[in-house]
Symmetry: C2
Subunit: 243 residues, 2 copies
C-alpha cells in the first residue's frame, strides 16, 4: 500500500516464545497497559483466540450488542489508523500541556511523569505502526453509563487474553475526536457507539504488578468511606498518590 | 439483626475445596453469570483477594475514580439488600411479563427460557440471602458511556477473581430504580454513580462454556459486517440465536 509509517512486512514471531497463559489470579494482578510494541505481527490464530475470549464476556440479558471491528493492514484499516494517529497525537498534545508534563517533575528525566511522557509520545508518534487496532462498539440502548456494562467487560477479557498469548494493549478513548470520520471509513452504523479503541501488539517491556491507590481508599465495607477491616494489601504493593 | 430472610450464621466453607485458579484463557471462556448460591459464606481472605484483583483493572489515565462498597451483614448492608431485593423482584416481574417468559417456549418446562425464568425467580426471591453484594461506583466525569471504561473492566476482574476462588456472581443493573434510597442508606456522594450491583456467593451449579452468537456476527475485519476470515469458532461451541 506504500503509505508512510505503515509496516508491510511484519516479522512473524515464534508463538511458542510468547505464550505464558498465567494463572487467572496472577494475570489479574499483573496485566499492564502496554503502549510500546515490537515489530512482531499478531499471529492470526492468536487474534482469533483473543477475539473469541472477548466475546465470552457478559452483556446485559446476554443481548450481545457488542461488535468488534479489527483493523489490521487492509485498505480501510490503513485509513482508519492514519485518522486515529492524528487524533491520538492531538489528544496527547492537549493532555501534555494541560496536565503539566512539561513542567515540575515532568522535566526531571527519571520521574514517573517524565517516563510516562516519553512512553505516550512514542505511542502516539508510532500509532500507525500498531499491528492491530480494535474498535470496540456497542449498540446504543440507554445512551449512558450502563450501556458500558455490555462492552467494557469484553474489552477487559480482550486485554487479558492478549496478555495470555504474549501480547498487550491498552483501552483508549481518543477516537472521540474523529468518530464521524471513522464511521464513514469503516461503515459503522449510527445505532452503534465506539466505546473504546484498543491497540494491540507484542510488548516492548513486560507485564507486571500495577500501581494503585492504597486499597482502603478504594474499597469500603457497609458504608461509604468506612474501612473494610478485612482487606489485605499484599506485601510490596506500590501505590500511586491519593488525592 | 433478626430481619427476615437474612442468614446470620452462614456455614464457613473449606477454602481448599473451592479453589481452582484455572489458566487465564480457560477462565475467560468459562466464567458464567452465577445467580444461585449455596449457604456458604465468602471467606474474608478470599473477599480481600477478589477486591484487590478488581482494583488492579485499568481506569482512564489511571485516575482510579472507582469505589467498591461491599455489603455483607452489617446494619446498612441489611437495609440496602432489602431495598435491592424489592427492586430486583420488581425488575424481574416487569421483564418476565415484557419478554414473554410466561408464554410460548417460556411455559415449556425444559426450554432455555423456562430454565432462565426459574433461575431468575429464585435469584430475586432470595436476593436478601446473597452472601455479599458489591456496589461498584464511579466518579462522574463525562456522564456518559465512556465513564464506564473506568469501572466495568474492574467489575469483570472482580467476577473473574471470584471464579478463581470458587465463587461466582453476576453484573446487574436493577439498582437503578432505588438509587436514591441506596445513596441515603450507604452515604454514597452525589458525584459518584452506581455503575453495577454485583451479588457474589458460592455457586449452586458450575462454571463452564458460555453460549454466544456465532463469532462472525460479532467480529469484523477491516469494515463493518465484513467477515474476519481468520476467526476460529472452537469445536463444540454452542450458540444463542442471532437476530
Amino acid at each position: 500500500m506504500g503509505l508512510p509509517g505503515v509496516r508491510e512486512n511484519r516479522r512473524m514471531p515464534d508463538p511458542a516464545a510468547h505464550r505464558s497463559d498465567p494463572s487467572l489470579l496472577e494475570a489479574l494482578r499483573t496485566t499492564r497497559a502496554i503502549r510500546r510494541y515490537t515489530d512482531e505481527a499478531i499471529v492470526d490464530e492468536d487474534l482469533a483466540t483473543i477475539m473469541f475470549s472477548a466475546t465470552r464476556a457478559p452483556t446485559g440479558s446476554n443481548r450481545q450488542g457488542f461488535r468488534f471491528l479489527v483493523l489490521k493492514d487492509g485498505p480501510r484499516a490503513v485509513q482508519a489508523k492514519a485518522v486515529l494517529g492524528e487524533s491520538f497525537r492531538a489528544g496527547w498534545a492537549e493532555k501534555r500541556a494541560g496536565d503539566g508534563y512539561d513542567s515540575g517533575s515532568g522535566v526531571e528525566d527519571n520521574s514517573p511523569k517524565a517516563r510516562t511522557a516519553r512512553t505516550m509520545q512514542h505511542f502516539v508518534d508510532h500509532f500507525e505502526e500498531t499491528p492491530v487496532v480494535v474498535l470496540a462498539c456497542i449498540r446504543t440502548r440507554h445512551g449512558g453509563l450502563m450501556d458500558g456494562a455490555s462492552i467494557y467487560p469484553a474489552c477487559q477479557n480482550l486485554l487479558l487474553a492478549a496478555r495470555a498469548l504474549g501480547y498487550g494493549g491498552v483501552l483508549t478513548g481518543w477516537h472521540a475526536f474523529v468518530e464521524d470520520e471513522l464511521r464513514a471509513i469503516c461503515g459503522i452504523p449510527a445505532d452503534y457507539d465506539i466505546a473504546a479503541t484498543i491497540p494491540l501488539g507484542a510488548p516492548q517491556g513486560n507485564h507486571g504488578p500495577v500501581r494503585r491507590r492504597p486499597l482502603d481508599e478504594l474499597v469500603f465495607d457497609d458504608a461509604w468511606d468506612a474501612t473494610a477491616e478485612w482487606i489485605i494489601e499484599p506485601a510490596g504493593s506500590q501505590h500511586t498518590g491519593s488525592f
